[in-house]
């Protein structure tokens, strides 16, 4: 099992360690609900060093990014970030990633469990004059998320975040070394992600905890990371999206640019023209019970038509919520469906938008 430079810190903080994507990671410290609510009301810090960072440089870097991803990176300026999906020939999602346009080229931030797969896929499809470097092993990543994240980041790094818009980044120096700070996250709150050499991991982690004390900062485990993203209706790779689902089915159509060529384009074009068979929806439970990944979804008449891909008891709403695939004609806000929870059927209502107001 791989460790991050912060594993000892997590243990010292009482983190309950689990294996995730081959890494030993904290699933929670004080408790999932407490951590979740801390991010919603104050600020939390996350060790996300397990995420992969793949760098593409050279004259063919843009062509490679654009050939592999469904979004169009050609208009990205240095300092801007774009969400995209790597898609296979069938339009299925190999991974959902962030693309950072740097001065040198592109930094692709990929899901931890997919780093090796993505690297192999990209290598296989490198356009001429392109170099791929896997920087996952040398870079640490700390996320700072929550309404108090901006003042905390400003204090620790000694800079202003006022002009730093969502999905943009800067590369300030920390102790003479260039780091990367982006206004991004996976919680639905204002927040930042900071990439830097492993050697600074412990001191930066401690600095965020020390400076954040007055804001009520807490370390946040993977458990709350999952409930935070689900409330924000952000898909999780492996749950809500995978190689058998397409960005169109997953409601990610705004990131699919069919005017350019990329792997999977024809399949997605065809799917769009034929009309979607199924769609990923978000729902809130009407009856008692918590939906979980893999539970069957049925119509009110009792016909099994889909499956739950993510579900939990929302800590913010104190109410069970979920996401899942249903036939397209059923996938409309306010429509009612049923979820089979063990031996019982429980009604749920499809919602529009995210779970939080």
């Amino acid at each position: 099992m791989k460790q991050t430079p912060l594993t000892a810190k997590h243990r010292a903080l009482g983190g309950r360690m689990i294996e995730y994507a081959g890494f030993e990671m904290p699933v929670q410290y004080t408790g999932l609900v407490d951590e979740h609510l801390t991010v919603r009301s104050k600020v939390g810090i996350f060790d996300l060093t397990h995420m992969g960072e793949l760098e593409l440089t050279g004259p063919g870097a843009l062509a490679t990014v654009n050939f592999l991803g469904c979004n169009d990176a050609s208009q990205l300026q240095v300092g801007e970030i774009q969400y995209t999906c790597l898609t296979n020939e069938r339009g299925g999602i190999i991974d959902d990633i962030l693309v950072y346009r740097t001065e040198q080229g592109f930094l692709l931030v990929v899901n931890a469990a997919n780093t090796a797969k993505d690297r192999a896929w990209i290598e296989q499809h490198l356009q001429p004059e392109t170099e791929l470097v896997d920087r996952s092993g040398e870079l640490s990543l700390i996320a700072i998320q929550g309404p108090k994240s901006a003042p905390l980041v400003e204090e620790v790094l000694g800079l202003s975040t006022e002009g730093l818009k969502n999905y943009t980044f800067v590369e300030p120096t920390y102790k003479g070394v260039k780091v990367l700070l982006s206004r991004t996250g996976y919680t639905g709150e204002d927040g930042f992600e900071l990439y830097f050499p492993n050697a600074f991991a412990e001191e930066l982690w401690d600095a965020f905890l020390a400076h954040g004390e007055k804001y009520g900062v807490k370390p946040i485990g993977l458990g709350a990371r999952d409930t935070l993203r689900l409330e924000a209706r952000m898909p999780l790779y492996g749950n809500d999206i995978d190689e058998e689902t397409t960005p169109l089915e997953a409601g990610l159509g705004r990131f699919v640019k069919l005017h350019k060529d990329f792997i999977g384009r024809d399949a997605l074009q065809q799917q769009k023209e034929a009309g979607l068979q199924r769609k990923l929806v978000a729902f809130t439970m009407i009856d008692k019970g918590i939906p979980r990944q893999g539970y069957p979804v049925l119509t009110l008449e009792g016909e099994e038509v889909g499956v739950v891909t993510s579900g939990t008891h929302s800590p913010s709403l104190d109410h069970p919520i979920g996401m899942g695939y249903v036939p397209a004609d059923l996938a409309k806000p306010e429509n009612e469906i049923q979820v089979q929870i063990r031996k019982k059927l429980a009604r749920a209502r499809i919602i529009k938008g995210r779970f939080l107001a």
Binding site: L32, V33, T312, H313, D318
Partner: protein
């Protein structure tokens, strides 16, 4: 009910009074599960088999079965848990009790652990 708690290897506790066995989960178990947000209780009158899951506890993250330490018939369920599942976290050995099972004849508790034995057992978990 009063008396001495006995523990199973699956971290349930039982309290025996005559042929009524009250069942809950241990402090260790509630701590492992984290904040319990939903309890799926059996119905009074249900029959349960020793070793079979008869109730489900859900934390935000996980779903866990509670296994019957004895065979018998459910004669009472802790209905307060429906609206206050957190009672299991706050008071696992008392207010967080889950069910009472009526057994035929004297309850077979010979292979259950007493407090000291359970404490020893936890060291090896």
């Amino acid at each position: 009910m009063s008396g001495k708690l006995l523990y199973t290897k699956e971290h349930e506790w039982v309290l025996v009074k005559d042929n009524i066995v009250r069942v809950g989960i241990s402090d260790y178990a509630q701590n492992e599960l984290g904040d319990i947000v939903f309890v799926d209780l059996p119905s009074v009158g249900d029959t349960v088999e020793e070793g079979e899951g008869f109730a489900v506890l859900e934390s935000v993250k996980a779903v866990s079965d509670v296994y019957a330490p004895v065979s018998g018939r459910v004669v009472a369920v802790n209905e307060e848990l429906e609206d206050s599942p957190e009672l299991i976290n706050e008071s696992p050995l008392d207010k967080g009790w889950i069910v009472e099972i009526e057994v035929d004849g004297p309850a077979q508790t010979g292979d259950l652990m007493n407090e000291q034995e359970y404490a020893e057992y936890l060291k090896g978990v």
